[in-house]
């Protein structure tokens, strides 16, 4: 629900049902709300059966890539020869995205339960929850919840009396965006510099500490107990547009809206309704643009926003991605050139410095955009930006440089007039120096 706002009638509240209820944070409060029943159920099944259920549900990764979760779990070696690990990616750092934070703040046990089920399914005795360093409050809440879960015997050497060992550790990040990239996250857990690794090997073959590892997003794992409780058919039934996209998804809405916050809707929900009706534009303002899936995905213009269906396929159809569900809304007062520069500056700051294109390209992109904003740009600069973006796309270890290029390319394509206005002097420079 759109905490701190009242739930909107068009929301489908599953994960966010208990947002705002302090009692749900406690172990007893969580059990009272049906918590840990799914884990109990899972522990009575074969690990492969649990994976099969998740496969059937059609659940896909909520971190951005949308990879089918059950399929990912099934990549883990069937016969356990070495330690298996589960990593939970709670390093939510994508600009515009703040759903995992709320899940951890209000329903820490939901995440613990989801992790425990996944751990059991992939035969991992140890799970690491890699939590963003800046998330001080969620960290405190998670620590408390984890301590409670251990105290109650839900976790530990004999989890829920099943005879299975399920250990879970919180690992706090130190503030690097790139540590949200799955292999950088694993390096960071290992105590190394958070640099993405070249693949192959993929995590299921050699992940954290070189062992078979599955890594899932907070929201993905939190959906798992619901699938076990209510069955994969129910989850699969939650689909408004494309049957390949199922379930509910939290969308974090920020930017030029009246009611920013997290909204949970069935996937395939129209983006236009989410923006215009649920979050609501400011009075007298019109929609100019929207980034539907966190800052890394291409920008949509008004028409595209209003006809976009919020599922993996619907977004691709509009030339963007569902991503992490961080919806950033721009109304007619937005300066798209400045906004894009601001986004690229973030990526330039966060580049891990491994790949040449990313290290140098992100920073160069910022300089060109700043030059344009200072009124010193030329028409050639736009071609240069597009060419650099081409060089930064699909050529590096991870997708950080692609993410920097995406808003630039879509921005120039859809809002070229605003760039030209700065270049031709029709708009006053907003930066003093290039």
């Amino acid at each position: 629900m759109g905490y701190p706002h009242q739930p909107h009638p068009k929301e489908t509240v599953v994960l966010s049902q208990y947002f705002g209820e302090a009692e749900a944070r406690t172990y007893d409060g969580w059990v009272k709300r049906g918590g840990y029943a799914a884990l109990k159920k899972a522990l009575g099944m074969e690990p492969a059966q649990v994976t099969e259920l998740v496969k059937e549900s059609g659940l896909r990764g909520r971190g951005g890539a949308g990879f089918p979760t059950g399929l990912k779990w099934s990549f883990m070696p069937k016969e356990k020869k070495r330690a298996h690990y589960l990593c939970c990616n709670a390093d939510e750092s994508e600009p515009g995205t703040f759903k995992d934070r709320e899940i951890m703040r209000w329903t820490p046990h939901a995440l613990i339960e989801g992790c425990a089920i996944a751990q059991y399914a992939i035969q991992a005795e140890v799970a690491y929850i890699y939590i963003r360093g800046e998330f001080t409050e969620p960290l405190r809440i998670m620590e408390r919840a984890l301590a409670e879960a251990y105290k109650k015997g839900t976790l530990g050497a004999n989890a829920m009396g099943s005879g299975k060992r399920l250990d879970m550790y919180l690992h706090r990040g130190a503030g690097a965006y790139i540590c949200g990239e799955e292999t950088a996250l694993m390096n960071s857990i290992e105590g190394r510099r958070g640099n993405p690794r070249i693949r192959p090997p993929f995590p299921a073959a050699a992940g954290v500490f070189g062992m078979p590892t599955t890594i899932n997003n907070v929201e993905t794992l939190t959906a798992v107990p619901h699938i076990l409780n209510r069955g994969p058919a129910w989850y699969k039934g939650l689909s408004l547009s494309n049957p390949k996209s199922t379930g509910t998804k939290l969308f974090s809405i920020s930017g030029h809206v009246k009611r920013p916050g997290n909204y949970e809707v069935t996937v395939g929900f129209p983006l236009g309704e989410l923006v215009n009706e649920m979050a609501g534009l400011r009075d007298g303002r019109t929609l100019k643009a929207c980034i539907p899936g966190g800052s890394s995905v291409p920008i949509l213009n008004r028409e595209e926003t209003e006809s976009c269906k919020l599922d993996y396929e619907g977004c691709v159809e509009k030339g963007t991605m569902l991503g992490s569900g961080g919806v950033i809304v721009f109304d007619d007062t937005a300066d798209m050139v400045y906004q894009i520069m601001r986004l690229t500056r973030f990526y330039a700051h966060e580049s891990c410095a491994q790949c040449t294109q990313c290290r140098e390209g992100t920073a160069w992109t910022v300089r060109i955009l700043q030059r344009i904003l200072a009124g010193q740009g030329t028409m050639k600069d736009l071609d240069l930006l597009l060419d650099l973006s081409e060089q930064m796309t699909g050529k590096t270890i991870c997708v950080l440089s692609d993410s920097c290029a995406a808003p630039v390319v879509s921005g120039i394509k859809k809002f070229r007039g605003e760039f030209e206005a700065y270049i031709k002097g029709a708009r006053k420079p907003v930066l003093a120096h290039a």
């Binding site: 510099r193 300089r367 060089q391």
Partner: protein, 527 residues
């Protein structure tokens, strides 16, 4: 080893077959294609960060890095596709935007991979507006012989990976992020590992520099000669870089069996003595109490006369830096005497291994041919000075005579001195024959693992100095015992014919990588 499974693929139109698991960049070498690269180095773990080796592979939508892509059956690789060329051009432009372009004052110019690939594939002009400031960080003093020039750094991380995984002394890293990144060093450490100098060789640009070589020569002025390090008995393969008949730098030469791509800092510094000017430049013979310069004919005749006229006990004190050929020829020259053959070697306690390479260390015995001398029947005698007592003839082959007195040498009735320098104690010699040092002749050494390796002539010998194999060949000829030799190869051929342990070998067969002498072969021919 069992037969390795071969994979067949096509690279730039050329079919190649390589073992399964080979990376494309190595497979391409076999097809005669050098894929441009910076971070990749065959002696280091793969990083895959410079993105320079991007190539097109049929049926793959994206370009792939050749350094981290394994070969696959039927793969068709295009290194020079338009797409791949554009990508590499892009990388080069990115690498240059923060580069100072100070090639005219950069030591690396002429042997710089950034220069080379930019000329090969880069843009003629940058599109980085000249008003943008370039990244600037001051030059840092990293170690006794290493400077770090961060402005030229392309962050390929070869140095970091060398220190992490080969030297296993992880004291440097990539510090900071984004375009602010640079190579950082542990605040309380220096880059003073005994093998640290290799980071200078590994650096593909002029970012890590040797202070010793700083501004000494331009790369294009240097001649390179394959040689073998004289610093210890390990026998690392090296190149001698010479400029105008002066050795100015020593760098490792690849040999997977010995030193891979590396050499230690001690070995690197073993070149100053090679350029010494205080050399014997003419043959000398004793006239009364004086040594006077004479022609080679005169000197050789005098030496032959000494040998002919003597009998009974003879002593030879040879340097373990002398070539295998010379060590053999001396023994043949003195074979009719009751011979004591000795050598002395500087020994230092402890070794300095390079942990990432098996059986590679700066060894305690600090001479290159200790094993060769031992093999040919020379015994190590630290009290070699005593050995001359009562000998009819004493012969010294390039031992510096440190710690040996003129008095001790007078124990031998007559002394012949073959050497590069004339120590005070040797002034009592009947004949002094000036010989070439290791850089001025061809020859071979046997390393501690019985590997026989050739070294080549890098510069001219001073004055009338001649290679020891030539001098000894002439003397053998005068005494009708063998020789003379027109080349080191001929001298070696005689050794191979006369000593069963060298049977079947030739300079041609040794090549530049050498060969291990078989164990348990007798010195007798045909045994």
């Amino acid at each position: 080893m069992a037969d390795q499974e071969l994979v067949h693929l096509t690279i730039e139109g050329a079919p190649v077959s390589v073992p399964k698991g080979t990376m494309l960049i190595e497979a391409a070498k076999q097809a005669g294609v050098m894929i441009p690269h910076y971070c990749y180095h065959s002696g280091l773990p793969v990083a895959g960060v410079c993105r320079m080796c991007l190539v097109s592979i049929e049926k793959m939508p994206k370009l792939q890095i050749a350094c981290a892509t394994q070969v696959a059956e039927g793969m068709v690789v295009n290194v020079m596709s338009q797409q791949a060329k554009e990508a590499r051009k892009g990388v080069l432009e990115f690498l240059l935007i923060n580069h100072p372009l100070d090639c005219p004052i950069c030591d690396q110019a002429g042997e710089c991979e950034l220069q080379d690939f930019t000329f090969q594939e880069g843009r003629a002009r940058t599109r980085y507006t000249p008003t943008y400031a370039k990244r600037f960080n001051p030059v840092e003093d990293f170690g006794p012989d290493i400077l770090y020039v961060p402005n030229r750094c392309i962050l390929c991380t070869r140095c970091v990976r060398f220190m992490d995984h080969v030297a296993e002394d992880p004291i440097i890293n990539v510090s900071e992020r984004g375009d602010r990144a640079f190579i950082g060093i542990h605040p309380e450490r220096r880059l003073d590992h005994p093998w640290a100098g290799n980071v200078v060789d590994l650096c593909p640009v002029g970012s890590l520099l040797s202070k010793d070589f700083l501004h000494k020569a331009r790369a294009w002025e240097l001649d390179k000669t394959a040689s073998v390090c004289t610093g210890c008995s390990q026998g690392c393969n090296i190149n001698l870089d010479t400029r105008n008949n002066v050795v100015v730098r020593v760098r490792p030469r690849g040999n997977l069996e010995v030193n891979r791509y590396f050499m230690c800092d001690h070995g690197r510094m073993q070149y100053r003595w090679m350029n010494r000017g205080d050399r014997i430049e003419a043959p000398l013979v004793a006239e009364g109490k004086e040594l006077v310069a004479v022609s080679w004919d005169h000197a050789l005749a005098r030496a032959a006369e000494v040998l002919r006229g003597a009998s009974g006990k003879a002593v030879v004190l040879a340097s373990p830096r002398a070539s295998t050929e010379a060590l053999f020829l001396v023994k043949r020259l003195l074979e009719r005497f009751q011979l004591t053959a000795a050598f002395r070697v500087e020994r230092v306690a402890g070794e300095s291994p390079l942990p990432g390479v098996p059986n590679l260390a700066l060894r305690g015995e600090r001479a290159p041919n200790v094993a060769g001398a031992a093999l040919l029947g020379y015994a190590e005698r630290q009290d070699a000075g005593q050995a001359f007592a009562g000998a009819a003839v004493g012969l010294v082959l390039d031992d510096g005579l440190e710690g040996i007195s003129a008095e001790q040498l007078r124990g031998a009735a007559q002394l012949i001195y073959l050497g590069t320098m004339l120590p005070e104690a040797a002034r009592g010699a009947r004949v002094v024959l000036p010989v070439a040092n290791v850089t001025e002749e061809e020859g071979s050494f046997v390393n501690r693992d019985r590997r026989l390796q050739r070294y080549f002539q890098a510069k001219a010998a001073p004055g009338m100095a001649r290679p020891a194999w030539w001098v000894l060949g002439e003397l053998l000829a005068q005494l009708k015992l063998g020789g003379p030799f027109d080349s080191a190869a001929e001298a070696f051929a005689w050794l191979a014919a006369e000593d069963g342990r060298f049977a079947g070998l030739s300079y041609e067969a040794l090549g530049t990588q050498g060969t291990v002498l078989p164990e348990q072969r007798s010195a007798k021919v045909g045994a």
